[in-house]
């Protein structure tokens, strides 16, 4: 069992995810170690390439905090993101990486507690899976 | 006379013509041909020999036609444009006529992806209209395609084509048959009829275009073996529509196959009454042994003997 916590890269939509995580921090909810947050103006801004590059450059798991499907401020952004995550998962399967290493977590601005709990569970899950053997960069 | 075939003579002498269909064996077993010829002997004027129908490899229609002649029956050789280019087809026409084959039906053919050689290269050098024109040119102008090469001697064929009154677009189907008439077709066999109303509408369009005066139309008829067959065809076969009333009739009958024969005979009698219809083409798929009974019940026997 590695002493270092699994590295999680969390893309956070500024309309929901960023605010939810601020809330989590200010209410002192427990968050996993080794967490990197990447704010984006809309989850639809995330290109499939970013998801793969995040894993390639050292993440053990990637999560996307996106608004609920009907709630996208830019109308279809999170729908597009969903398709891209689907495509990325197909690539992960080809590479031989587990599908759990990439997940969308839909939420709202006040989901501080929920998103913190989700991140803790994800960290445990990734710990059990072991490190991402596809990463080409060191920590 | 175009080729002097028995089928041609039957038409020219004003008789109602009868043809059937024979599928060659999926190997080189000639006894299969013999068995089918024996089922048909005496009941028809000529028999269509299919050309790798549904793109499933069978003995060639030209070889099978020759065996049929040897067995004492007149073939109508089918030729599709799917598998052969113009060199091969003109070459086969020299061979076919030299071997005594006098009738040809020119078709495009079912797409090869339906058959058992899905990775074959699709030829389609010509379409059916162009093939009809090619055969007519060889016969009447005695030149090969391109018009340069003169042909010594006669390449005489009685030329047939197909028509589907039940395909789309309906308004165009009769016009397409008119195109085949303009290209030089002598007779047309239609896809099998269940929707008599639509067939009659199509025949009216044919008459309005004057096509019935130029070509002999033969109505296609296929006897239904069972309710299951009727339902399957209605659902799965492109270009065939079966009215619900017919399916119900089959379903309610005590014996489906007997009802199917009755319906078939009624259909033959009905199309005989339609102006412009000069014969029937009975396609009894895998049921060739019923041709005798059908033609007898429909009052089509004996077949005329013309010298």
């Amino acid at each position: 069992m590695s002493p270092v916590a699994p590295k999680i890269v969390a893309f956070c939509c500024e309309q929901s995810g960023v605010l939810a995580l601020d809330m989590a921090k200010s209410s002192n909810a427990k968050l996993p170690d080794n967490l990197e947050l990447v704010p984006v103006p809309c989850s639809g801004r995330i290109e499939t390439l970013y998801l793969l590059r995040a894993l390639e450059s050292g993440a053990d798991g990637v999560v996307v905090f996106a608004c609920y499907e009907e709630n996208c401020r830019y109308l279809q952004g999170n729908i597009r993101l969903k398709s891209r995550v689907g495509y990325a998962k197909q690539l992960l399967a080809k590479i031989g990486l587990e599908p759990e290493r990439l997940e969308i977590f839909p939420l709202a601005t006040n989901s501080g507690v929920k998103c913190a709990e989700f991140l803790m569970r994800k960290s445990d899950q990734l710990g059990a899976l072991g490190p991402n053997l596809g990463k080409t960069a060191k920590e | 006379m175009k080729s002097g075939s028995n089928l041609e003579k039957v038409f020219v002498n004003g008789h109602f013509a009868v043809t059937a269909e024979l599928g060659p064996p999926k190997n080189n077993d000639v006894s299969v041909i013999q068995r089918k010829v024996d089922f048909l002997r005496g009941y028809i004027d000529a028999v269509n020999i299919t050309d790798n129908q549904t793109a499933i490899v069978r003995m060639s229609s030209i070889a099978t036609s020759v065996f049929v002649i040897q067995m004492g029956m007149e073939p109508v050789m089918q030729m599709v444009t799917r598998d052969r280019n113009r060199i091969a087809m003109q070459s086969d026409l020299f061979g076919a006529t030299a071997l005594g084959i006098k009738n040809i039906v020119c078709l495009t053919g079912d797409h090869h992806t339906f058959g058992n050689q899905v990775h074959a290269k699709n030829v389609h050098d010509l379409d059916s209209v162009q093939l009809i024109h090619m055969v007519k040119t060889m016969r009447d102008e005695k030149v090969l395609m391109g018009g340069e090469e003169k042909i010594e001697g006669d390449v005489n064929m009685f030329i047939g084509g197909a028509a589907n009154p039940f395909a789309d677009p309906f308004e165009f189907r009769a016009l397409r048959t008119a195109k085949k008439a303009a290209a030089g077709v002598d007779f047309i066999q239609t896809q099998c009829i269940y929707d008599m109303v639509r067939f009659k509408e199509w025949m009216k369009m044919i008459r309005d275009l004057g096509v019935d005066k130029k070509v002999h139309i033969m109505a296609g008829i296929t006897p239904l073996k069972s309710t299951g067959m009727a339902r399957y065809m209605a659902k799965n076969v492109a270009g065939i529509t079966i009215p619900d009333a017919l399916i119900d009739r089959m379903a309610k009958a005590a014996k489906g196959s007997e009802e199917g024969i009755k319906i078939c005979v009624e259909q033959i009698q009905e199309v005989r009454e339609i102006e412009g219809v000069h014969g029937v083409h009975i396609m009894a798929i895998e049921w060739e042994q019923m041709i005798g009974k059908i033609t007898e019940m429909a009052g089509l026997l004996p077949r005329p003997k013309i010298d």
């Binding site: 290109e47 499939t48 390439l49 793969l52 590059r53 894993l55 390639e56 690539l91 080809k94 590479i95 031989g96 990486l97 053997l133 596809g134 990463k135 080409t136 | 799917r82 113009r86 495009t108 053919g109 079912d110 797409h111 992806t113 339906f114 699709n122 389609h124 050098d125 010509l126 379409d127 059916s128 209209v129 162009q130 024109h133 090619m134 395609m145 197909a162 028509a163 589907n164 395909a167 789309d168 677009p169 165009f172 016009l175 397409r176 008119a178 195109k179 303009a182 290209a183 896809q191 492109a238 270009g239």
Partner: protein, 223 residues
């Protein structure tokens, strides 16, 4: 434009098995439009390949470069320095680009990363359909702007065949029957009468691939 699809990942991995440093070259033209081999598609493929090889314990270094077009010698030349540094090239351009590189870089194996499929139209975002077969003798004027060589499964010039039902082709129910389209458009153009004229057999020999690979030479443009 030319349409293509990326080859299966497993097939590409097999091509690259003997190497540890390659160039993945994309193309900024046709394959960008159909998302098969543009700069982003190449980058995505490169990332996936690196991770797969890392996981296999056989790291693969992949240099990436995407010229504006790969089908012209000047653009192929741009890659010369990079190609000098690698053992092989995986090109996700169409077959033309692969061959242009192969002709220039005779000592380096150039692998095709896509299957070039057809000449087509972007019908909707992410959807492309075949429209042209480059037969060399365009008859679109006769067929109301719908090509029966590319769009009819039997390449009929006097269609439709008996398998046309409800405007669809008998071999694939999602495929429009080209001759139904020709009929409809002829009707809207007031040109239905033209469809009664017989279109004679096509001259496959003089202008199409059937007489061998083709060439155009414009003397007025040569320097």
């Amino acid at each position: 434009m030319i349409k293509a699809e990326q080859k299966p990942f497993e097939e590409i991995l097999e091509y690259l098995a003997p190497y540890d440093k390659i160039l993945l070259s994309g193309c900024g033209a046709c394959v960008t439009v159909c998302h098969a081999g543009g700069e982003k598609d190449a980058a995505l493929l490169a990332s996936a390949l690196r991770m797969a090889r890392q996981k296999m314990g056989k790291p693969l270094e992949i240099l990436e470069s995407t010229p504006a077009r790969q089908c012209e010698p000047e653009f192929a030349e741009e890659l010369s320095e990079t190609i000098g540094q690698v053992q092989a090239v995986l090109s996700v351009s169409c077959g033309v680009g692969v061959q242009t590189l192969a002709r220039r870089y005779t000592a380096t194996q150039i692998y095709p990363g896509v299957n070039t499929t057809f000449l087509g139209e972007t019908v909707a975002h992410g959807v492309w359909e075949e429209r042209c077969q480059a037969c060399g003798n365009c008859i679109l004027e006769k067929t109301a702007g719908v090509c029966p060589i590319a769009r009819c499964a039997k390449q009929l010039l006097n269609g439709p065949c008996g398998g046309s039902a409800n405007g669809k082709c008998e071999i694939k129910r999602e495929t429009d029957c080209a001759w139904q389209l020709i009929y409809d458009r002829s009707k809207s153009l007031g040109q239905l009468h033209r469809l009664t004229e017989i279109i004679p057999a096509k001259q496959w020999g003089t202008q199409s691939r059937d007489s061998g690979p083709r060439r155009i030479a414009r003397e007025d443009l040569k320097v």
